[in-house]
Symmetry: C2
Amino acid sequence: MARTKEQNEKIRETRKEVIRNAALSQFVKQGLFSTRIQDIATEAGIAQGLLYHYYASKDEIFVDLINDALDKTIGASYSVRDMDTDPCEKIRFSLERLVETIENSQTFLDTCRLITQATNSTAIPQAAQDLIQEKRNIPYQVIEKIMEAGQKEGTIIAGDPKMLAIFFWTSINGLAIYYSTNKNREVKLDYRVIAAMFLIESEREDKNHAKDKTVFK
Amino acid sequence: MARTKEQNEKIRETRKEVIRNAALSQFVKQGLFSTRIQDIATEAGIAQGLLYHYYASKDEIFVDLINDALDKTIGASYSVRDMDTDPCEKIRFSLERLVETIENSQTFLDTCRLITQATNSTAIPQAAQDLIQEKRNIPYQVIEKIMEAGQKEGTIIAGDPKMLAIFFWTSINGLAIYYSTNKNREVKLDYRVIAAMFLIESEREDKNHAKDKTVFK
DNA sequence: GTCTATATCCAGATAGAC
DNA sequence: GTCTATCTGGATATAGAC
């Protein structure tokens, strides 16, 4: 019987994830407030009433999603921070991976849009606002530190590292939203162009040529 | 009596502007859907029912605001396009003005946030979506053309000009939203750092020094 | 666990008095 | 023109049958 209880718990968690995915898709398209519980239930393939067996309210789902989104972003930034290379390469590598992710991961695009939406509104649940307050600056701080180190090293352009970090993330975020909302996708994203913008000229040329050899052999 | 009619029309238009300003402030804070007609009326200092003598619905106000916001952005980009200088200087000058505007104009910050909100949702009124579809790309195209010309001239960095244009606008937009939602304002915005990112190194140094003399004399 | 049916609430929009 | 009071519709959340 103890086993059955565990299994039930697992099934329940799986079901909650289906609901979260449905909710994410709806929130990104319609926003928190014009998404109805009915919309989420329909997309999740269950009856509207049943949703309340898993979540107490629409807000609760939203808070769960925001928390996931922030944790994923923080995790990604930590993995860059902990790389065993110089700052210049960290910037280049992270941009390469982020651009790749924009092109290939719908979840990443949705995550960017959800956080943008949440950051841009004071009407979201208090718990979500608290999470944002608590966690949102971490990725900015990580990149800021890397920019600072790169400037000391002489590989990153001059300027307030805090501003460069904001620039770094808002650009990625902006590209993701642009990419997500312009389905024709007529733009070819090239991480090397973006990376070059943060690097001083000499470094820029040298490393780009080195990169060319490995990436486009 | 014809005169009275004109005056009434003028008063009416003034009153509508008060309502639009109230609505903009609310939409930016709470979003279109969680803003109630009551909220707008209260901020405008009138009764809820009276609002319907000026606007038929909440959506109608929103569409008006989106139209204004898009026209302002387009107007700004045209004034840059029509400047009588080389592309490199156009980029530098427009960034200087835009950063200045971020720091001094609450309306500009609100406008950025409203457009971001609208672009990021499919639940907004159809008329607003049509306006965005029709007008939103113009500022991107204007900057794209300038980037292209600058590349031919040898003053703008390499890369798909379409991507550079997206980068240009998303960065400004991102800075505006960051600035708007982080009231501490601990970051000193410096347009020259941003401008330098779009310019090739030699141009970057020369022109920056020339600029220093005129701007910080 | 899952559904359908329903109670409750609240915001948009209207009506009517002043 | 302006207000208060009210109608109406729709969404959340609950209750109850299976």
